[in-house]
Subunit: 205 residues, 2 copies
DNA sequence: TGTATTTTTACAGTGTCTGCACAAAAAATG
DNA sequence: CATTTTTTGTGCAGACACTGTAAAAATACA
């Protein structure tokens, strides 16, 4: 907040900065309150009181209550298609998806609030169902990139299958990562899961 | 309705029959009204008026409005784990899942209302997010069966990965089936997708 | 400083969903 | 058949999620 010399874009105005602050403040308030009191007894009004904005403002930022916990930011999603398309030409589609997930994890993992969001979604599955549009958006970005990459287009069945399977791998990876010791590198787990998929899901011996 | 000599269980009481009728009636009313007027302008009250039950009764059958469109019945789900476990011992886990999905599709496809539910969920993605717990339940049943089958348990990462990947295949299959000519057999599409997965998602040439 | 644009807020209203008490229906019992 | 017990349906009151609208506040810009 106080230091500003290392922001990604120096030319970001006050309005944009305040909007980001408000969004982050609502996310932080939601995480804190839900962690403490559970998802059912926390209302939008409570979250807004903690974040010091009006309840109506909440719905200017999020389409529903649970979206405040959506784990993938809009900025991260927007970079996915191009990142997939730009992977080296010799990589097969699942590998390209794998590498982009590596970067995505490496980037989002740094965010303190991301860990807490992910943890809450795991502890309270009912919250996860409402953030599914965010997960689905990631899958669509993936399909878009793979469609461009292969020249098959994002409507191709093979493309959609790879995207859906990659999401399955990511989901299972994050889940086992949460059940692992604190120093586990999720990229190792992701590596294992993609290796299993690329070997046709043969039984582990 | 009128013939009753070929019901699965002759000993089903009046209470159970009425419950099934009420559930079906609510599902049919919801499908009809939403198809006609769109999901946003149909209220639970409308659905109940059409089905001739009180609004309060609706929520005795479904936990939320959209659950009335959940495509997998409780009965079908309950049979999954045992069906997986009973597949021939030489089948590898993905194949076992594939075969059980074949049976599941063959069975549920006969239901007229199932096609309509699936179509509505595809046309209005916002409805799909609320029925996700039903989809998730299918994945958990799958994992339970695979866990018993392999002796690894349903918490094993390989088991969870196979279950999640199989769900990806099923989802993509149903989607392409809906975009195919009317006489397309979904089991052929499912066959293709599982073949791709078992070959490690190699690019189609 | 004044004006245009964007964001926040208050307010009123609709619809989802829940708990509860009670009525109605079905099943079990003698 | 009359009875008790259990299950299911309903009416009601209320909390909360979410939306449209219009005014107020903050920001951008000249």
């Amino acid at each position: 907040m106080s230091t500003m010399s290392h922001t990604t874009e120096e030319s970001v105005g006050l309005r944009e900065r305040k909007k980001r602050a408000t969004r982050l403040s609502l996310q932080a308030a939601a995480v804190e309150l839900i962690r403490e009191h559970g998802p059912d007894s926390v209302t939008v009004e409570d979250i807004c009181a903690q974040a010091e904005v009006s309840p109506r403002t909440f719905f200017n930022y999020f389409t529903c209550k649970e979206e405040v916990l959506a784990p993938w930011s809009r900025e991260a999603l927007e970079r996915i298609p191009e990142a997939i398309a730009q992977r080296p030409a010799e990589e097969r589609p699942p590998t390209a998806a794998h590498r982009v997930f590596d970067v995505l994890l490496d980037h989002t993992m740094r965010s303190e609030i991301w860990r807490e969001q992910i943890m809450l979604l795991r502890e309270h599955p009912v919250l996860a169902y409402r953030t599914m549009s965010n997960t689905r958006a990631l899958e669509l970005c993936l399909a878009e990139g793979l469609g461009r990459r292969t020249g098959l287009g994002e409507e191709d069945t093979y493309v959609k299958l790879v995207a859906a399977t990659a999401m399955a791998a990511l989901r299972v990876t994050i889940q086992s990562w949460q059940e692992s010791p604190d120093d586990t590198d999720p990229r190792t787990l992701l590596e294992n899961n993609f290796a299993r998929i690329e070997s046709g899901l043969r039984s582990p011996d």
